[in-house]
Amino acid sequence: MSAVSLKGIDISYGSVDVVRNLDLDIKAGEFVVFVGPSGCGKSTTLRLIAGLEEGRSGDISIGGRVVNTVDPARRDVAMVFQNYALFPHMSVADNISFGMRLRGEAKETIAARVADVARMVGLKDHLHKRPGALSGGQRQRVALARAIVRKPAVFLFDEPLSNLDAEFRAAMRYELSRLHRDLGSTMIYVTHDQVEAMTMGDRIAVLAPLKQAGRSNLMQFGTPEEVYHRPANLFVARFIGSPPMNFFEGRAEGDRIRVGGLSLPGARHLPAALTVGIRPEHVRHEKPWFLAPAEGRIVGRTSDGAGHRVGENVDVHFATDRLHLFDRATGDRVAV
């Protein structure tokens, strides 16, 4: 297990910048998830760590060693690809042992290690089969076994569950988390699925495409709780959470915030133009906390199972201590 550090990473394809000014420090043994929409550079960054992509500038360190020019095979990383990248003409056992055979390890060592790993991922009855004879979930386990067998310092996962159906995906999420607990290795996991990010990651790096990001792709790097409950900016607030956060335009007036016809408690020295956000679960209608404006569209959660018709008037209440304030000019979170 090794720490991974990215310092001032820039990546471009020709004249198009994909990643800019990315700094990340991943602790040894940590499970970090890169999450973001398409084009945010999450897979590109992962491939950069693996050595499959070249950066324009910046340093990549694995276990305290700068690996910018180190061959991918010597970085002590293993990668699980989205489409599994299994060798279709080789048996499951040969797929798993491909690297060991290349390194000329003894046959007995290979057989013992392959059997060990196959048992760990539940493939011991399928070792003689070709990948074509396996289900999607089993193929993913082969890819996983091929990574585990190397005992790498860092595991890299590039959307490994996106080709699986929902039921398998949930099971594999659990298994990957268990694997992380058992092996204690550093794991970096790329996904666009926020449920995966929120349930699996020790910490989440939320990335945005450069068009929306400005200075750097990294929008926030924190625990799932931090990212969800204290989003650093409007991008994170919008991207994380399903159904998404409600937003209203507001104005600072003294130590109050005016939203439509409402005056909410605020603080002194707030930016004049604000965006006020509230998560759907903090919009309530069964217990009066605060009266909401009678206009606009608000998404809320009902806990009593009460059905409402479209067009029906309902009184809703905001928990004022759960409001999120953002500077409308910069999009950054405003501390109250």
């Binding site: 499959l52 095979a73 990668m79 290349l102 190397r150």
Partner: protein, 275 residues
């Protein structure tokens, strides 16, 4: 639509197929009958449809001067020609599929143009060159000059087969410590094996049937089967029986090759058609 109309409609493709097969096989059938008939029967008008076959034309063709040697020469040329085409074509096809090869487009267009150029264009300069470096009238020389069409064809075809192999396979192998040569040899070649087999067969057929270049760049020692068959046309007469028998003999290896490898050819040519 009535049942009989739909049955008639279903028969159409078969009718067309039978007609196409008949048209393409008739010349071969006709040559075969000439090879199996006596000289008198062969040119009888109206044609003799029922006759007792004579086999002596085949014996005469095989034992005629230079025919068996030419047969062996053609086999060697096809083998060496294919080895050369694959040795250069496989790495070239692999690299020309990479995004970051400088001048990739120009190289590919150049290969296509060289494949399309008429063969006799190479003959005059190559005749002089082969004479001066000792490749004239050698099977190696012939296999080398055949690369002007086999190599571009091999590269273009293999490039299409290799393009169907996900790049992630090469990346996964690279992460495991495999170098480029090993990636090509242990990943690309086995996966594209049906495609490579199809390429070898198509190349072999083309080299086996080639006449123009062989006529110009060989004289006696390296003569190929197509020249040997043409050799039955004498100064004053043509030995039609032996010539027909020789034609049938030279069709056999490629026909056998194609029948044995038919599944592979179809597999290869449809490689990647269904993901």
């Amino acid at each position: 639509m009535t049942a009989s109309a739909s049955a008639r409609r279903a028969l159409w493709p078969y009718a067309v197929a039978v007609l196409a097969v008949a048209v393409s096989l008739f010349p071969i059938f006709w040559i075969l009958t000439i090879a199996l008939k006596t000289r008198v029967d062969a040119f009888a008008m109206p044609p003799v449809w029922f006759f007792s076959p004579v086999w002596e034309n085949f014996g005469k063709a095989w034992s005629s001067t230079g025919f068996s040697g030419a047969f062996l020469n053609s086999l060697i040329v096809c083998a060496i020609g294919n080895v050369l085409a694959l040795a250069a074509g496989i790495p070239a096809a692999y690299y020309l599929n990479r995004r970051n090869v400088p001048g990739r487009r120009t190289i590919l267009i150049w290969l296509l143009i060289s494949y399309m150029l008429p063969e006799f264009l190479f003959i005059v300069p190559m005749y002089v060159l082969f004479q001066s470096i000792g490749l004239y009238d050698t099977v190696i020389g012939l296999a080398l000059i055949y690369q002007v069409f086999t190599l571009p064809f091999t590269i273009w075809l293999l490039r299409a087969f290799f393009a169907d192999i996900p790049e992630a396979l090469a990346e996964a192998a690279r992460l495991e410590g495999a170098g480029t040569l090993r990636i090509v040899w242990t990943i690309y070649v086995p996966i594209a094996a049906p495609g490579i087999a199809a390429t070898v067969i198509l190349n072999a057929i083309k080299m086996w049937n080639e006449l123009t270049i062989a006529l110009a760049l060989t004289f006696e020692k390296a003569q190929t089967v197509t020249l040997a068959v043409a050799g039955f046309r004498g100064y004053a007469s043509i030995d039609w029986g032996a010539m027909s028998a020789a034609s049938i003999i030279i069709i056999l290896p490629m026909a056998l090759f194609a029948i044995l490898a038919q599944r592979r050819i179809v597999q290869g040519l449809s490689l990647g058609a269904v993901k």
